[in-house]
Subunit: 190 residues, 2 copies
Amino acid sequence: MQLLKEKVLNEGIVLSNQVLKVDSFLNHQMDPVLMKEVGKEFKRLFADQSIDRVLTIESSGIAPGIMTALELEVPLIFARKQKSLTLREDIFVEKVYSFTKQETNEITVSRKFIQPGERVLIVDDFLANGEAAFGLARIVEQAGAEVAGIGIVIEKAFQPGGRLLKEAGYRVESLVRVAALDNGMVTFAE
Amino acid sequence: MQLLKEKVLNEGIVLSNQVLKVDSFLNHQMDPVLMKEVGKEFKRLFADQSIDRVLTIESSGIAPGIMTALELEVPLIFARKQKSLTLREDIFVEKVYSFTKQETNEITVSRKFIQPGERVLIVDDFLANGEAAFGLARIVEQAGAEVAGIGIVIEKAFQPGGRLLKEAGYRVESLVRVAALDNGMVTFAE
């Protein structure tokens, strides 16, 4: 997605060979026009899929998620993250490890919002090790629903998440794929 | 806002005379068409204001915030919540007490995203005691910027936040105002 590549090149800050900071348009300040285009692009990429819901995770997934849901004319659900949790029967829970924060969170979705047999599109802002995407996919499957696909705004293709998700049988569409962050520079894949 | 009143009546669940659960369309599952209408309505209500940014707080403020920012053609910033924080020079920090969760969070915004002299519209999903809105307003003022107004999706008008914000000189526009939640029923104000 050309508009997004330009944003990454113009506004992304390479903090290390692992970390790309995009807080001016994606995960602290957000560019609503770009988010709208992201939604349109996910609609186009998954046009061959029937989709009943979009599922994302708080907080940075919500803006691309709601725009995708708007384009697809389906509801958005966002999973909540919590450090620990009293077990409750009315929610799906999965553990998700964050390599960035070096902590495990529990992510939760209310059972009433994913029904057996539904087809759910997962959307997230970043894909690195794939922990969050796998956690969301496990929640969809716990519900007896099916993952229609996984839409990612920025994939760090030098980390294993994308490969692992594809090996597990999921269709992953990333709007930009970053191949490397060496020498303070962003290099795109493909 | 009629569409929102209908949603509250049809899907809102009165858990007690203090708590209205709207997780089917506003703060867990989200209705993207409703969020788009919310954005249009805030644009209409604040049409007399010049607005440089929209500011909200994670997580449930992000969807109405991004739709408002899209309509106004300005960026959205969302404040992050954290339990405690290492002090850093590059962020604005304010303490916000949550009566619901009975805990104090620190809310933070990067200094680079609000400039002196800017006019900032604050948007949030709920207004009860006003703690979050006051915290966001103090961040705007720390930045030397000005609060152009406060847009609220659902105000619990039987709690003091709206009155306190108005007494402090802020313009508050709430899309629906709930006067009471007695006997399991929602009563709207005015």
